[in-house]
Structure formats: C-alpha cells, structure tokens
C-alpha cells in the first residue's frame, strides 16, 4: 500500500515540478536582465520626484481608472511623435510605482499633457468634458471639485514611496501635508517650502481656481500639468535605448 501511494506521489510531484520549471524559466530569463537596465539606459540627473500634491493627484488618476482609456506611452512611431510629442523614454517613468503606460486609447495619450492646456480648461473639462469637447465620451468628474483632499496620510504615502525606492528626503516626508497645501495656495507662507524642497521650476498655483480650499481637483490638475515634465530628457537629442551590438 505504501509503495503504491509513494509511486503516485512521486508522479504528481514530478508533474508539479515540471510545470514550475518550464513555466518559470522563460519569465526569469526575459525579465531578470531588465533589473540591470540602469546600466545602459539614458540617465536624467535633472529629474525630480512628484510633489505630495502631484502624487495625490496621481492616486486620484489611478482611483478613477483614467488609465483604462488614456495611455502614457508615446511609441517610437512617426505619427505618434507628431501627434503627441517626443516618444517616451524608460527613465521618465522610473519613479512611477506602478507605471501607467496603459493599453487602450479611448481618449488621447497623456504622456506629454503637462502645460498644454490652462488650469481653467482642465477644471472645466473635468466638470463636464462635453462643455469643452462636444464629441467627448469621457465621464464627468464634477465631484472632484466638491471633495476636499485628504492630506493627513500624505507623509505615510511618501514613506512608502521611499521604501520602494523613490528618493524622498526626511524633510519632504515631514512636510508632506503642508507642501500639498502650499502648492495650491501661492500666496500662503507654505508655498515657499514647496519650491525649496522640490525646486524652483515647481508650479505653485491655485489649480482649481480657489486658493482657499484644497480639493481633489487641485491635486488632479497639478498632476496633469506635470505629465512629461519631471525631466526634459526626452527633448534632448535622443540617446538610443539600446547599444548597438
């Protein structure tokens, strides 16, 4: 009896190991080299991290599923470059946990959206897309303007980001909530801290048109306005992604 069962067991275990072996090797061989890619890929020393407000906006973008209809990946094809701008480089999404390249363009690509339209345009568009683009099929996001942005956990967000490899400093983490407020309130004392920590080029504006309150609309528009602008590596004469053999 024992012998019989032993034989059966060996067979199932052999099958299981066979499946694991055959299935895992391909993935390993293909993906592993990508984790050493920084050795060859173009570098972008000027690249900055997302501000807390932009990160919050990015999380709203994720929460609402915008990525289901908008890509953020301009391919190396002539028509795409002409329509949307310089093609996307790997380095541009190196702080994107997770990446939002997308797989479907029900709406246009957004990789180079930043500063293409005014803040007012964005706010009007989010409240009612058909008010500015009559043919649009995009849903209305009017509620963002009515919803106050949650900032009490922003430090936790930055901390978790640092754990996965984004270089946030202690200073940034400690002031996350204040910086979120300051970036959307240009005349407040908190505004200076934002440019001090994230660089002079950081846009500090009342994104939703109302400097007094900090809404989810502020965050989302701040994020949309930074798309493609964390580094200008893509606008430089292009470094080829792969070395010629």
């Amino acid at each position: 009896m024992f012998g019989f069962h032993y034989r059966l067991e060996r067979k199932t275990i052999g099958l299981v190991l066979g499946i694991i072996g055959v299935a895992s090797i391909g993935g390993l061989v293909e993906i592993a080299p990508l984790f050493t890619i920084h050795q060859t890929v173009e570098d972008a020393p000027d690249m900055r991290v997302y501000t807390p407000l932009e990160l919050a906006g990015r999380n709203i973008y994720i929460r609402e599923g915008c990525y289901a209809c908008h890509s953020q990946m301009i391919r190396t094809l002539r028509d795409e470059v002409e329509r949307y701008g310089p093609y996307s480089l790997a380095v541009e999404s190196k702080y994107d946990h997770p990446m939002l390249w997308g797989s479907k363009r029900t709406g246009p690509d957004l990789a180079r959206l930043g500063e293409k339209y005014s803040d007012d345009w964005h706010v009007a568009h989010m409240i009612n897309p058909r008010a500015v683009v009559p043919e649009s099929v995009m849903p209305s996001y009017a509620f963002l303007q009515r919803t106050e942005l949650r900032t009490d956990d922003l430090s936790d967000h930055l901390k978790a980001q640092r754990k996965v490899g984004v270089p946030y400093t202690d200073d940034m983490i400690a002031n996350a909530a204040a910086d979120a407020y300051g970036q959307a309130a240009p005349d407040s004392p908190a505004a200076d801290g934002v440019t001090k920590r994230y660089g002079k080029a950081t846009t500090v504006r009342a994104f939703d048109g109302k400097p007094t309150d900090l809404t989810e609309m502020d965050a989302l528009v701040a994020y949309l306005q930074i798309l493609g602008r964390l580094t200008d590596a893509a606008h430089k004469p292009v470094a080829t992604a792969e070395k010629k053999p």
């Binding site: 034989r7 059966l8 067979k11 199932t12 299981v16 499946i19 694991i20 055959v22 299935a23 895992s24 993935g27 293909e30 993906i31 890619i37 999380n59 994720i62 929460r63 609402e64 599923g65 915008c66 289901a68 890509s71 990946m73 391919r75 190396t76 094809l77 028509d79 002409e82 329509r83 996307s88 480089l89 380095v91 999404s93 702080y95 994107d96 946990h97 997770p98 990446m99 390249w101 997308g102 797989s103 479907k104 363009r105 029900t106 897309p129 683009v133 043919e135 099929v137 849903p139 209305s140 996001y141 936790d156 967000h157 901390k159 978790a160 980001q161 754990k163 996965v164 992604a241 792969e242």
Partner: protein, 554 residues
C-alpha cells in the same frame, strides 16, 4: 450544507470563521474613514453569517459513512450557480459600460458610476467571478471522476469556494469605492491579494490530495491543464502584486516595481493570466467535457500532452508583445514576438485536436446545442489564437495596439472561447449533477446558443471594424504631409460601432440570463422530484442499505 460536514469539520469551520471575524474586526477598527475599514466590516459580517449557519446546523446528525461511496458534488453545484450569477452580473456591467462609450451621459452623477470604476468590475466580474468559479467547480468535478477518488474531506472545498467568492466581492466592491492598484487584471489591493494567496494554496493542496488518492497511476490530461492553471496563476499573482502598503490601516499600497520593470512584470503577468487562467484551465475543461459529451475519446491523446508543454513553455516568453515600440528594450520585444508566433503551433494543435474529436459525431453536433457550444468554442479558440499571434507581429501591432482591435481580439477569446466552453460544460454537468435526464428546457439551451453566437459575431465584427478604422485614421497623412485626422475625428467615427457592440453584448447577456433561468428551473424540478421521492420513502427505516443518492443517473 453544514449537515454534510463531520463534527470535526464543523469545529474546524467555526475556528476558521472566528479567525476571519477577528481579522475583519481588526480591519474595521484600524481602517476607520478608509475603504479598508468598510471591507473589514464586510469580512466581519460574512464571518458572522457563517458562524450562525454553522451553529444552526451544529447538532444535526453527522453524515453517514456511506457518503464515501459517492463523489462529493455539493461544492461543484454551488460553484456552477455562482459562476452563472457572476456571469449575468459581470456581463450586465460590461454592457452598461459598452453603452457608456456610445452615450456617456447614461449614468449617475456619482463617483462609483463612472466608466473608469465600472470597467474593472466588468473585467474582474467575468474573468474571476464567472471564469474562476466555473474553473474551480468543474475542476472538483473532473478531478474526482478522472481519479476515481472522492474529495479528501468536506470542509476544504467549501473554504476554497467561499474564500474565493469573498475575494471576488472584495475586489468588485473595492473598485466601486476607488480601491485599485491600476495593474490590469491585478487590480485588487494588497489585503485582498494576501487573502487570495491563502485560498489558492489551499486549493492547490486540495488538488494534490485528491490526485494522490487516485486509482490509476496515470493522471488524466485534463488535470495537467488544471494543475498548470492553479500553479502558474499562484506564481504570477504573488510576483506581480508585490507591494508596500502605506499603513496597516489603509487600502493603498505602492508597487515594488516601477517604470519598465513594472511594465514587463505586469504584462508577463497579464499575458500569462490569459494563458493560464483563460486558456489552460478551460482547455482542461474541454478535454474532459467534449469527449464525454461526444462519446468519443480525444482524437490524439499524445498531441494533447505535447501541446500542454508547448503552451506552458511558449506563453511565458510572449508577454512583451504588449509593449511593442515602447520604452522596453527592443530585444525583449523581438523575443516576445518570436515566441508569440511560435505559440500558434501548440494552440492550433489543441484546437485541431478538439475538432477532430468531433469527427464522426457531427450528427450529434447538429442535434445537440450543448455539444455545439463546445464545437464553436474550439473554433473561436483557433481563431483568437491565430489573431493573437498575428497581432504580436510588430508592424501589425503598431496598427492594432491601443485600438478597439485589441478589444475585439479579447472578446473573440472571451465570448467565443471562454464563455462558450463554459456554457457547454455547465449544461453538460447540470443534469449529471442533479440527476436529471436533461435540462429543464432544451429549447432554451438552443436559444441561448444562437443568442451567444449572434452576440459574439456582432461584437467582434464591430470591434474589428472600429479598431482598424481607428488605427488607420491615427496614422493617415494628407498630401501636405501632416496628420489628416484629429483624435476627435476618430472618436466620432467609432460611435456607430460602439452602438453595434453594445447591442451584440445585449444579445450575449440575454443568453446568459436565459441560461441562468434554465439552470435554476432544472434544479427546482429536481428538488421537487426529490421531495416527492422522500415522502414516498418515509416508511422505510433510516439506514436503507446501499447508497440512497445513487439513482439511475445520467
């Protein structure tokens, strides 16, 4: 149901449910003001309902040892009904979002009702809710029959099924509240992912325990496919979902991977979810139900084994065809393309094997809508894998990527292959399970078949057209060398196709509703007969020798 558990199992169930209740309570307390807390409360309520159910049946007499003379099919029955309910729910949402793309104002001014939040409810609802329940239910059925062994106990299969459905409910309600990782087909957040790992490992161990009780040394090939489905999905799920939560009281987490590495990991996952969830498992289903229904053995058993290893091997390399012309290094793209094209070989061997199995039984295919479901599924399997290999070629993909062509390909596979083979398998097993001669209404099965076929064809043709038009418009230049169409021009051109797709989807949905009704009526008439029989049986003393459950059968 509780009456089928032994005393020990009832106690085990209570322990598990108590642990679950405590977890739910901790989540609810730790996550106040966050969707995490709401999910905690839902877990708590589910656990408490379970506890009451177990206590209610706690003192029922234990099941007799005679149960060991029959297969344990109650979990399969539950899983089949659950699959059909998810099918109707998931497809209803699918059709709703389809209409939203044609008429965006057909919704409510509320966050949960926007396209972006509803779409993953559709994809997870149909793939995991419908597909997953169908796979688990049929795998229980098939592994017992092909091993000639009963499930090793009564508690584990229920844990797997209820646990899995809890995961699906957490996922779907999470999207409505905005809880998502944004990784396609891996949207649920970290806590749901951890729970799924627990459920999945239990499922795997249950499968092995049953296999190890089998009579024949050889393991029937269906089980290979089911096993690959279970194992590889576990592997993919764990790696792709590695993430750091922002706190123990929050639903939000950040993926361990970023940028290119994340893209490659995600599509390694995504493509193999197609391979091992939507293909391997359903091939296992097909290799059991189709020969059985047709009354003929698999045309070539050898080929089924060769294509098994082919599929297991090739798919793993193919994920990068989702990232052609992106910032992913080109050698990875070429590798993915090459393997995707070679993947056609084992795929067509499988489809051909299925169709050849029907050779000599074509009269049955003509007369039997159930077998016809399976036949059409094999055809669409061949079609969508051909299309997939074609779309994986870089220049083709430069046109198809980002367009509705992809969506058309998806639904040729999903409606034509996955849903059709499942409906076939379910219609075959329901009468076997509930001991009927056939379904409640053969006419309704026939109606379901034609609605499904028409719906699929309308859907797929609409998307092929719109996808190709869209792709061409995006890249068309006028004489002066500038782009001829704005993005909005292409959007306007999609409108009629979006309406057509939504109508095709409505056909398909209607078919599924009819199917659910038909199954429900079959079960009801079965239990009425059962009740009548029980009344007649009453005078006979309790331990009637032999297995009372063994009626003439099929």
């Amino acid at each position: 149901m509780v009456a089928e558990l032994t005393k020990n199992e009832r106690q085990g169930a209570l322990v598990i449910l108590l642990a679950l209740a405590v977890t739910g309570l901790a989540m609810a307390a730790g996550g106040r003001g966050d969707p995490f807390g709401i999910h905690g409360a839902m877990v708590l309520v589910a656990a408490i309902v379970g506890i009451f159910a177990v206590i209610g049946g706690y003192y029922a007499p234990e099941p007799s040892p005679e149960r060991l003379d029959s297969y344990y099919d109650s979990p399969t029955k539950f899983g089949i009904v659950a699959a059909m309910v998810w099918a109707v729910a998931g497809m209803a949402v699918g059709d709703w979002v389809a209409w939203l793309l044609a008429y965006p104002e057909w919704t409510f001014d509320a966050a949960w009702a926007s396209f972006g939040r509803l779409r993953p409810v559709h994809t997870s609802g149909v793939i995991f809710g419908f597909g997953g329940n169908a796979l688990i239910a049929t795998s229980f059925y098939v592994m017992q029959r092909t091993s000639r062994a009963r499930l090793p106990d009564q508690l584990t299969p229920w844990f797997v099924l209820f646990g899995y459905n809890l995961f699906c409910v957490i996922a779907a309600t999470g999207y409505l509240m905005g809880v998502t990782q944004s990784k396609e087909y891996a949207e649920p957040e970290w806590y749901a992912d951890i729970w799924l790992v627990i459920v999945w490992v239990t499922y795997f161990v249950l499968y092995l325990r049953t296999l190890n009780r089998r009579k024949e040394p050889h393991i029937y090939v269906s089980n290979w496919y089911y096993l690959a489905f279970i194992l590889v999905v576990a592997m993919l799920h764990i790696v792709n979902n590695l993430a750091v939560p922002i706190s123990w009281g929050s639903a939000k987490s950040y993926s361990l991977f970023s940028g290119v590495q994340d893209a490659m990991t995600e599509w390694w996952y995504g493509h193999n979810a197609v391979a091992f969830f939507l293909t391997s498992g359903f091939l296992g289903m097909m290799y059991y139900y189709m020969p059985k229904r047709a009354g003929r053995p698999i045309y070539s058993y050898r080929m089924s084994i060769i294509s098994f290893w082919g599929i297991t091997f090739f798919y793993m390399w193919a994920g990068s065809h989702h990232l052609h012309y992106t910032a992913l290094p080109q050698w990875v793209q070429s590798l993915g393309m090459t393997f995707s094209v070679m993947l056609l070989v084992p795929s067509w061997v499988s489809a051909g094997n299925a169709l050849m199995t029907l050779n000599g039984a074509w009269h049955k295919v003509r007369d039997d809508a159930v077998l016809r479901f399976m036949m059409v599924a094999a055809v669409f399997y061949g079609l969508s894998t051909f299309e997939g290999s074609f779309m994986a070629i870089r220049p083709v993909n430069s046109l198809s990527h980002y367009t509705d062509w992809t969506v058309g390909h998806v639904h040729a596979g999903a409606l034509g292959w996955v849903a059709m083979i499942t409906f076939g398998a379910i219609y075959a097993s329901v009468p076997w399970l509930w001991k009927r001669n056939g379904m409640y209404s053969a006419k309704l099965v026939e109606a379901h078949f034609w609605l499904s076929l028409a719906g699929t064809i309308i859907y797929v043709f609409a998307m092929w057209n719109s996808g190709i038009i869209q792709g061409l418009m995006w890249r068309t230049y006028n004489e002066s060398g500038t782009l001829a169409y704005s993005f909005v021009d292409s959007l306007v051109a999609m409108h009629p196709y979006y309406i057509a797709r939504a109508i095709g989807g409505a056909f398909f949905l209607l078919g599924a509703i009819i199917g659910l009704y038909n199954i429900w009526m079959t079960i009801r008439t079965a239990s009425q007969d059962q009740a009548a029989q029980n009344v007649a049986d009453r005078p006979v003393t309790e331990p009637a020798i032999g297995a009372p459950a063994l009626q003439p059968g099929e």
